[in-house]
Every structure is written in C-alpha cells, then in structure tokens.
Symmetry: C2
Subunit: 303 residues, 2 copies
C-alpha cells in the first residue's frame, strides 16, 4: 500500500489558511516529498506524517513557491537526528538552487545530494521507481510519476508440484534462478502473471500537454495543478502557463487515471470547492484538494 | 505615535501554532521589519499590518530561522505592486545572504539594497533613526534600536511676541533660521526644550551583555529573546547563547526600559506563559509575547 498526502494546496504564496502546494508519498516506511515551498515544514508537522522518512525531494521547478522551504525542511530533518543522505531531484540548475538554500545551512548532519533529471529520465528511490516528463511552464519544469512496483505472485502449488523445498521459495520469489536436485528452476515456473502496482503522478506548474497525458496514463492517482477555477480565467491560464479545473479534469480523463486531486489554487481563489463541478462534469472522480488531505492507496488485488 | 507588533514569537523553527520571531515597527506610515524567518509573509498577513510600507528589513544574523522568509517577503512585496527600493541591513555577509535568497527571485520590480552594519553604527530609515550593538551569539549578530525622534515644541506665544508672521513659523519649527525685518531669528528663540521620542529595541539571539544594556537604556519597549522559561535551563541558555526569562527581565531592569516583551521561545516551550512570573518578579512590566501582539506607543506628552 501507499500513503499519499497534500500538506498544502496553494500556488504563488502561502496564505494564512493555505500552505503552498506539495505532496508526500510514502511506502514501506520511506517517503518522497514533491516540492517544498515556504512553510512546508510546518505543513508536514500538521499532518503528522513522519517527515524523518523523507529520502528524496523532487522539485518541479525553481520558482520560490516550490523551493524556498527547502532550507527549513533540511534543518528540521537535522533536528530530528537524521543522518542518512537526502537526494534532491530537479531540472538542470538543481545543484545551484540547493547550494543557494544551503547558504543558511552550511552544516548538516547528513549529505544532501542533487540529481539533475531531464524529461524521460528514470530514477529510483526505494521502494519507488520514478520517471519524469517535461511540464510546459515559464522555464524548465518537470512532472513526476512515482510507481510502487508489485512483485509477481508466488504460486506455492506449482513449487510443491516441482518438489521444491520451502527454503528455496524466497529466492525464486525474488526472481532468481535456483538449482534443485541437479535441475535449474526458473522463477517463471513458480510465479504468476505481473501485477499492477500503485502509481502516483504529480503535475505542476504546467499547461496540459500530450507528454503529461502519457506520463499520467493509467495512474492510480493524478495530483494536478488547477490554478484557476472559473472557466473565464482560461486566457489567464494560457498566459501564466497554468491550468483551469476543466483542463486538469480533461488531462485526467485523457490519461485514464483512477483518481484526480486538484491542487495549486490561485490566491485569488479563496473557495476552490465553488468550482468543483467544473472538474467533476468531465472527470467524475475529481476531488478538490484541501490542505492535509491524505489517502491510503491499496493494491487492487489484496491476495 | 509608533505601532509595534510581533508577527511571530518562535525560535529555531516555525510551528503549527507559532511563527518565527520577528517584529515590525511603523510610524508615519512607513515600516521596518526586524528579522524574516520562514513564514513571516504569512504572519504579516495575519496581523493585517500593511506590509507594503516596509522600507527596510533589519536582520539580526544569518541563521535560517531569522532569514529564510526573505525571498517570500520580497516576492509578496513585488505582488503588492511596490516599486520603491527595499534596504536590508545586517552584519557583514548580508549582501551574500540576500543574493543567495534572490537566486529564487532574480527579477523584482524594485531595487533591493544591502547595508552592512557594524556594532555602534547609526542608520536612517525615515522616520526612524537606527543604531545597533553587538549581540553575543554563535557568529556575528546585531541588536537594533529604532528611535522615532520628536521635534522640539513650537511656542507660538514667543513667535507672536517677536512679531513673526505665521508664514515663517513652519521654517523655524523645522529648526531653520529666518530673516524678519532685517533681523535673523534663530529656532531656539521660538522652540521649547527637547522632547522624548519613542524608542524600540530588538534583541535576539544573544546572551545578556553590558552593550545590550547600553543599547536598551531608557527604551519605551525592549523586545528581547527569552528562549528558555525554566530557570533549570540556564546552562543550556549559556551553551546555546540565548537567554532565560530571568535574564531578559534582568536586562530590562538594568536598562531601565518602560516595557518588556519576551519572544523567541524554544520549540520545547509550548506554553511560555507558564513561566511569566520568572520575568515579572524581576521586571513587573514584562509581557510574554504572543503571535500577533500589537501595541501603539504614544508620545508621553500628547501636546
């Protein structure tokens, strides 16, 4: 299973009742944070999600509302006695941005690594497999797909039929070949068909694009920016390179995702719920995100 | 009159119910912000104090909890259509720190100036006259004194006795000499004795020192850090170069200030009011600061 949460849902600037948009995804006790604007450390405390497990931070781009909480987050991790490395992923320039943030935190009890990603790159942050695509914003910007893979099921009846002792089962389950009574046994002989894992996609700040439809394809959850609620703001969405609720819902529908959470609301949108129907009429499963929204996504077949 | 407010009162890290310590002082419609940690832009919105009038930001030192909200604040000013310059004062290194913050905000519609201050320096931010002293912390740190001077009273009965027309009064009141019927009239002839202005002193992060007593002398308000409430934490205050409630109250008493507000509470101090008596027993006017605390300080003689 995978826990996902929206500590904040605001764009541009933090407000008294709305933290800046970010997301945190956790599985097997390890977590990845997506974006880290000013106040994210407080937003994480408010959801009681266990920030110490954050092994990686994926930055969409380098506008302050997505980055300027980084130094505070790193210092909070330092104060929580973390000593394992933290990796910050982002578009070209991520090393320079992290270095600038660390002018205020030159000494940390753990290593901060930076990794430049280009659209299409794949990366691993255990237990996740990440990929990214180009978002269409003013300047380089990445959308992220985090997949929690699921192993193929082990079929004990086949293992028994082959006369394999239980001591070899685990190795086969991991996908490794074993030798038994002079014969090589391949994992395929005792494993069932591939199983669907759990996938979360995070898109902000961007116009909708075919590349984002591809990135989001068949995801369990698409977290998408939806800066503007009112369809009359469509020209502003084009101009500022953001999306309306309608566009985010259309992206979700085209990609065939299972769930859609809208986030990154304009400060000029005090009550995003007022525009919920703009999204649900296109994608009935659309949910207008709220600060602190959390859900546990489970494998579709619990067996 | 002078308005002063504590948007936040926390040390080290912002908490869900406590912003990082800072202060804002306003007179004649212009404001000075003292320190700017993460979230200060939100804290300023919560007090509805009119952040657009901030002409200067005085940084005590460059620990993140006093600086990392700067980029967000500058962007908020930019979004409020400000175009007048903003000056950032601080110890040596202030230019580099501001430059690092501005990596995330390279383009602003106003100039950001930086001014290095050394202990004892005087500076002007209309209508204030500022001075600073060395605080005793880990690394260079400044405490600030902001004075709102008050002009000498104009004595109309003397001006009338000298036969001066009203059209010359304003010039004399400004302290300039005038000519009237072939005679030089000096301001001293029509001005009363000097009058007390209003002075606010801001001390954080620091141990108490004689220099801070001197800086705070006779102030209308001393805003002092008081990181630790429990007297048992005295050794920790020494070790971390902060103050206890007792030490801040003693500083206020030694300096003969009129009011004392305590701030910059440790995250380990959830209820600072529990320790109020530690301060009031030494300085009866001590007030345990709370986020959003504001007061208007008036000239002692309203005439």
């Amino acid at each position: 299973m995978l826990d996902v949460c929206l500590p904040g849902t605001g764009g541009m600037m933090p407000l008294p009742n709305r933290w800046l948009s970010c997301a945190i995804v956790r599985a097997e006790g390890r977590a990845v944070l997506l974006d880290c604007g000013e106040g994210t450390q407080v937003a994480l405390k408010e959801i009681h999600f266990g920030f110490r497990a954050i092994d990686a931070i994926c930055l969409s781009h380098f506008h302050a509302d997505h980055v300027s909480g980084l130094v505070g987050l790193l210092l909070m991790l330092a104060n929580s006695d973390r000593d394992e490395p933290v990796t910050v992923f982002g578009p070209p320039g991520v090393a320079e941005v992290v270095a600038a943030q660390r002018v205020l935190a030159p000494f940390l009890p753990f290593e901060v690594r930076t990794v430049v990603l280009r659209p299409g790159a794949t990366f691993r942050v255990e237990p996740f497999v990440g990929t990214c695509a180009a978002a269409k914003h003013s300047g380089p910007c990445l959308a992220y797909r985090l997949a929690l893979p699921r192993g193929r099921p082990f079929l004990p009846e086949r293992a028994q039929a082959l006369g394999l002792p239980i001591s070899l089962w685990r190795t086969l389950q991991r996908g490794e070949t074993v030798e038994h009574e002079g014969r090589r046994v391949e994992p395929d002989e005792v494993l069932g068909p591939p199983r669907r894992g759990i996938t979360v996609v995070y898109v902000t700040d961007s116009r909708p694009t075919p590349a984002l439809v591809d990135l989001s394809r068949d995801a369990d959850l698409l977290i998408s920016e939806a800066t503007f609620g009112d369809p009359a703001d469509q020209p502003r969405a084009v101009e500022t390179r953001h999306m309306t609720f309608v566009e985010a819902a259309t992206l979700a529908r085209q990609a065939g995702v299972r769930r859609l959470w809208l986030t990154h609301f304009s400060p000029a949108l005090p009550n995003p719920l007022d525009y919920a129907s703009q999204a649900t009429v296109i994608f009935p499963g659309a949910v207008v995100g709220r600060d602190g929204q959390c859900e546990t996504l489970r494998y579709e077949d619990p067996a």
